[in-house]
Assembly symmetry: C2
Homo-oligomer: 329 residues x 2
C-alpha cells in the first residue's frame, strides 16, 4: 500500500448556487416545500429563474463544500464532479482550486450546462433549494479513476449524487476501488427527501460498502424508518464501523462498535445553516485522517459547523487552524 | 413633447462583479493601488482570476446599480449597456430585469465575453477593483436609440463608460437626443482615476451637455484641478444647472444657481461602502424626477446610500419606499 497523497477525496454534484431573497408566497406560488431540496428540469429551471428576484452566485454542492472546508482546515483534498465547459463551470473550477482542492475531472463538452441550484431565502432565514442537475447527470464510472481513489485515505460520497442516474454505478466503483486499496469509504445522507427517493439503494450501499456514515436526525430516522433517533442510531451502529450523527444545537453522537460519544455543539450565532452538515463532516474527517481521537474529531466538526452557520454561505471565512490545533480534549 | 415613460434611463458598463477576500500582500504582489479601479486586459484578467481566492458573483456596474436601486425606490427605469450572449450576460440581464429595470440592449454575439470586475476586499474593508471590459467595449452609438432616450425624464451617464473607446460617441448621441426631446442629462464622475484618464473629455462634456452633475469630493477636485472642495464646487456651479456633490460622512452639497443646500449624511453602520454614490444618485433622481424639492431629493439620496453601505453589495436589501414617503423636509 503506497503512502496516501490525499486525506479526503470527495465525489458529488458540482453545482453553482444562485441565492435570492423571497417571500413565503413566492414558494407557494411555485409549489415549493419550504426547507427542502427538489430537482427541477430545464423548463422549470428557466421559468423559475425568470420569476426569481436578483441573485448572487457562488460555488456550492454538498461534497464540494466539505472538500473546500477540509482543505481550509489543512487536509489534503481532491474532488470528483462534473461541470460543463462553460462560464459557470469555470467559476466552479476556479473556486474549488482556489480553496486548495485538486479537481481533476474533465468538463462535459457539448452537453447540458453546469448544474445550478436556485435557492430562495425566506424572511425566517430558511433556504428552499431547486436543483437543475445539468452536467452533473453526465458523471459516470469512467470519471472515477481507481488510481486516484487509491491515493486517498477516505473517499467521501454525497447522498445527493444518487439522484443523477449514472452516478450510483460510479459510487460503487469508487467504493470498490477504495477498499481494494485498503482505504475507507464515507457517505453523507445529504437530505431526508433524498433518502426517501433512494432508501433501498442507500440501505444496500450502507450495509455493504460504507465504513463511515454521516447523517442528521431526520436522515437517519428516514433511512431506517424508525420513530426515534436512538433506535435508528443503533441500526447504524450495526451497519457501519463508524456512525457520525448530528443533531443541530443538541450536538453530535459518534457510535463506534460498543462506544458512544456525545459531543456538544459549539455555541454559534445562527445566520444561515446552509452547509452546517458539510462543514461538520469536513472538520471530523480532517481530524480523523490526521489520526486524532474520535472525541477531538467531533469537536473539530462542531467548530467548523459553528463557523459556517455564523455567516451566509457554506464555506469558511476565517482560518480555524490555530483553534483546531489548540483542541486537547 | 410626449409623456415620459421612464423617470431615469441609465447608460453604463454592464459588469458582473466577482468579490473575494484578500490580504494586503496580494494587492502589492499584483501591482494594485488599494481602493482604486483599474482596467485590465484578457491576459491579466485570466492570470489574476487564477491567482484569486474563491469568489462570489453578482451583477454590478455603477449606472446599473443606480438603476436597480432607483427601480426599488419606485422610479420607472431603463438601462442601456452591453453584455455578451453568454451565461454571465444572462445573469446580468436576469438581475436587472428582476430589479424592475427595462433592459432593451441586444447582447453582443461572437465577440468578447460579458465584462467582469475582479474585486479584492482587504481586512480593512476596502475594495480594490480590476475591470475586464469585455463586451462593454462594443457599446456603440447604434445601441443608443433616440426614441428610447426621448421617453426618459433624465438620461444618466456613468463616467466609467468613457473608458471603452466607442462609448464617448454614444454618450454624445444620448445627450443630444435627450436635449432634442426636451429632457435632461445627468453624469456621474464615477472615480477620481477615471477623471484623471479623461479629464479634458469630461470637462468638455460637462460644460456643453450636462444638466446634473454627480461627483464626490475627490472627483470634483480632480475634474477642476482645484485644491479645495469649495473652489471646485463653485466651478461646477458655473458649469451645470445642478451640481450634487457627496462628501461621505460629511453629507452632501447641492448647488443650484445661487442656492447651496447642505444635506446631512444619514447615520449608518458602515459594512461596505461599494455603491454608496450609485445609491445616492438613485435616491436623488427618484425624488427629482418625482417632482420633490431639492432638499428632499438630497435626503432620499442619503437614506438610499446609508442602506447600501450597511451590508455587502451595492443594491437594496430592504424596501425603503415607506421611509421615503414619510420624508417631509
Amino acid at each position: 500500500m503506497t503512502e496516501p497523497t490525499y486525506d479526503i477525496l470527495g465525489i458529488g454534484n458540482a453545482i453553482v448556487d444562485v441565492v435570492a431573497a423571497a417571500e413565503d408566497q413566492f414558494l407557494s406560488r411555485h409549489d415549493m416545500h419550504k426547507g427542502a431540496m427538489r430537482l427541477i428540469d430545464t423548463a422549470r429551471a428557466d421559468a423559475l429563474y425568470a420569476a426569481m428576484p436578483p441573485g448572487r452566485e457562488s460555488s456550492g454542492g454538498s461534497a464540494a463544500n466539505t472538500c473546500a472546508v477540509a482543505a481550509g482546515l489543512g487536509a489534503r483534498v481532491a474532488y470528483v464532479g462534473k461541470v460543463a465547459d462553460d462560464q459557470l463551470g469555470r467559476v466552479f473550477r476556479h473556486d474549488i482550486n482556489a480553496a486548495g482542492v485538486h479537481f481533476p475531472t474533465d468538463p462535459l463538452t457539448g452537453g447540458a450546462p453546469t448544474a445550478r441550484c436556485l435557492i430562495l431565502v425566506t424572511p425566517d432565514g430558511q433556504r428552499t433549494m431547486n436543483t437543475f442537475l445539468g452536467a452533473c447527470v453526465a458523471l459516470e464510472p469512467a470519471d472515477v479513476h481507481p488510481h486516484l481513489i487509491a491515493l486517498a485515505k477516505v473517499t467521501y460520497l454525497e447522498g445527493y449524487l444518487f439522484d443523477p442516474p449514472a452516478a450510483q454505478a460510479a459510487f460503487y466503483k469508487a467504493a470498490d476501488a477504495a477498499h481494494a486499496a485498503g482505504r475507507q469509504v464515507a457517505l453523507s445522507l445529504s437530505d431526508p427527501f433524498c433518502v426517501d427517493r433512494h432508501r433501498e439503494a442507500f440501505r444496500k450501499l450502507v450495509a455493504s460498502h460504507v465504513d463511515i456514515l454521516f447523517a442528521n436526525e431526520a436522515e437517519i430516522t428516514s433511512l431506517y424508518e424508525q420513530n426515534t433517533f436512538e433506535a435508528a442510531a443503533e441500526m447504524a451502529r450495526a451497519d457501519v464501523e463508524l456512525a457520525v450523527l448530528t443533531r443541530s444545537e443538541a450536538g453530535s453522537v459518534i457510535l463506534h462498535e460498543g462506544t458512544t460519544l456525545e459531543i456538544a455543539a459549539e455555541p454559534a450565532r445562527v445566520v444561515d445553516t446552509t452547509g452546517a452538515g458539510d462543514a461538520y463532516a469536513a472538520g471530523f474527517l480532517t481530524g480523523y485522517t490526521g489520526g486524532k481521537p474520535l472525541s477531538i474529531c467531533g469537536r473539530m466538526g462542531s467548530i467548523a459547523a459553528a463557523e459556517v452557520i455564523g455567516h451566509y454561505g457554506a464555506r469558511l471565512t476565517r482560518d480555524l487552524r490555530p483553534r483546531m490545533a489548540a483542541i486537547t480534549h
